[in-house]
């Protein structure tokens, strides 16, 4: 019954990325291809991949968590204030707990009140960023500098171990466990999911908690690279993640086509593109953001066009099969 068929829409983002990579490599006069650059891109990607692992659950439901960036900043600040003296491991734990709590608030608000999650998480972003600003304005230096026992976290083996562990966990939860299927079913059609016996509210809250948890987990990855935090830490984090996930081919409205491999391709992909852009002379923050947005538009458009084409292909094939049926057996379909 299962018919083998190449789904072109899955491959287009990958192809697009390869083309962009070559173009950028040429523009940066080969700087992008140096070993040091590639290592730095990898290193940078890890934090974003961790964040995206959490965002995956939310996005597969057709929702979005725009408070993830500020979540990074809040959870790291709170953790530093509470257990900053005891080294990176306690901090990591507290970050995750604080992150999950913020996620739970998002989840409960969106599940119980059924509010548009884009709007509610933006509002959370405004509010929490305000709170962060209160703290940093009242602190003397306006920044937090990590001690050595926290910066010890910034080693590739530790970071890679955590990344692999949690990637495996998400593969299990999202790709194989009923929970992942439930999230994706909600993204496809929330009414159908509800009537099919899926507890939509519980699933939503859990998914947002996971997003928050991974946001907190990503905090140390991001902050250690800059040696600490400022009031700006985490701005644009969720944007990059969304960009990377769309780039990897994640559907905007969520659903069954949401797969973990798409973020594992997409996030490093967007990091390569952004670092490549940074290496080109004369690209300021304005041009940088412009290119980011244009890439986003292009990907969205392309994957939409291709999805429509795939659908039409099925319609045509089906109509053909039906008319053959009718020829063989007139009047009885």
């Amino acid at each position: 019954m299962k018919q083998k068929k190449i789904n072109w829409s899955e491959l287009v983002p990958l192809a697009l990325m390869i083309v962009l990579f070559i173009v950028l490599a040429l523009f940066s006069q080969g700087k992008l291809l140096k070993a040091k650059a590639i290592e730095s891109i990898l290193n940078q990607s890890i934090g974003y991949i961790i964040g995206a692992l959490g965002m995956l659950f939310v996005m597969s439901m057709g929702q979005v968590d725009m408070s993830m960036g500020v979540n990074v900043c809040v959870s790291a600040t709170v953790a530093w204030l509470l257990v900053g003296d005891y080294g990176w491991f306690p901090m990591l734990i507290v970050c995750c707990i604080v992150g999950a709590l913020i996620g739970a608030v998002n989840g409960i608000l969106s599940a119980v009140f059924d509010v548009d999650t884009f709007m509610i998480t933006i509002a959370m972003q405004i509010g929490l960023r305000g709170l962060i600003n209160v703290y940093f304005q009242n602190s003397e230096t306006g920044r937090i500098v990590f001690a050595k026992n926290i910066l010890a976290f910034d080693k590739l083996p530790i970071k890679l171990t955590i990344l692999i562990l949690f990637t495996l966990l998400v593969v299990y939860l999202f790709e194989f466990h009923p929970f992942g299927y439930r999230c994706r079913a909600i993204g496809e059609n929330v009414v159908c999911a509800h009537e099919s016996g899926i507890d939509v509210k519980k699933t939503k809250i859990l998914a947002f908690m996971l997003a928050g948890f991974f946001g907190g987990l990503a905090a140390l990855f991001l902050c250690c690279r800059t040696g600490g935090m400022t009031r700006e830490t985490g701005t644009g984090f969720e944007m990059r993640i969304l960009l990377g996930m769309f780039l990897g081919g994640m559907p905007v409205g969520g659903g069954m086509d949401s797969r973990i491999y798409k973020l594992l391709i997409g996030i490093p992909g967007i990091m390569i593109i952004l670092s490549g852009l940074n290496m080109i002379k004369g690209v300021g923050t304005g041009e940088f953001q412009l290119v980011e947005a244009l890439i986003l538009l292009a990907i969205l458009l392309l994957s939409r066009v291709i999805k429509q084409a795939m659908y039409n292909r099925d319609i045509v094939a089906m109509a053909k099969a039906l008319s053959e049926d009718e020829k063989r057996n007139p009047g009885n379909v």
Binding site: V64, L109, F113, D114, V115, D116, F118, M119, I120, I122, A123, M124, Q125, I126, G127, L128, R129, G130, L131, N133, V134, Q137, T235, G236, M239, V252, G253, G284, T285, G286, E287, F288, Q289, L290, E292, A293, L294, L296, L297, L300, L301, R304
Partner: protein
Amino acid sequence: MNAKALVNTDTWYGRLINQLIFPVIIAVIVLIMNLITRGRMLSGNGLYQIFVSSILNAIIGMAISYTWSTGPDFAVAAAYILAANVGIIATMKLGLGYFGLFGGSILTCVVLQLISTWLRIKLKLPSWVLGMAICLIYEAFGVMYSLWCTKQTVGGALIQLGPTDCKGIVKFPADFLLWLGVIIVLMLIQNKTTFGLNYRAVSSNMEVAEHMGINSRKTIYLGVTIGAALMGIAGAFNAASANLVNTTSNLGSFGQIARGLAAWLLSSGMRRMDPVLSIALSSFAISALFVFLTYLGVPQGTWMSFFLGMFIVVFLCLATRSNKKEE
């Protein structure tokens, strides 16, 4: 006579009572705040302060109500900032005065918003994601412009209005007249024109409206034009009172329209009231709330944005609830 008969829309007093329910509730809340702050809210000056700070957000709220009828489109936030800057340039560099400030701002905002709406309708993408992409693009233009300014001048600031330029509009009674004018024109449009009724029909139920023979696309474009023009007016007004409007990046422009957004959200809980009046009223209520917080000793700036975020969360929940009840 029971409560239901009192708000019956078939009688003139029923219609009047419908309009008065929420103003009375808010007046009571302000009175309570006044008691808590020992009479500082209701001094003549206090009231005027609240009113003045509510004008800008009322206009933004009304603009949002027109531009967001088919879904949240944050492009309007970035368009608002760009438009204000074009208005400032038209005034300072081309010497066009008020005409440059308002004309430039309105024109820019309308053009930018029509582009974004056209793309959204053509590409059939969810409004939040397309609005986000367009917002990033418009912001990028703003950032490029501000970097260009930095290179041009030694001080490195944006072009701004001089201390005496276009100040008349932000003084009494011009500001009051602007507010009143916007409300009257919008009420006329919504209640007394074919477009207004069509627009209300389309934003309530597009499918049925089309079945009634309303051209929904034309109506949406017209609505967006009106909303964007209002956003342009808000941009010019903001520029006149602050002299410059800073550009933002990474979707920071959301913060610029957040209070207007809150006003719009709060107003959608006031179903029985005229939509235009209810936005003006809720903007006033929000301003009162912030003035109240100031009197309580909450410092301006940071804490305020925390409260603002939380207010939006609460109003969002209320608005969604009241929409659901209606169904």
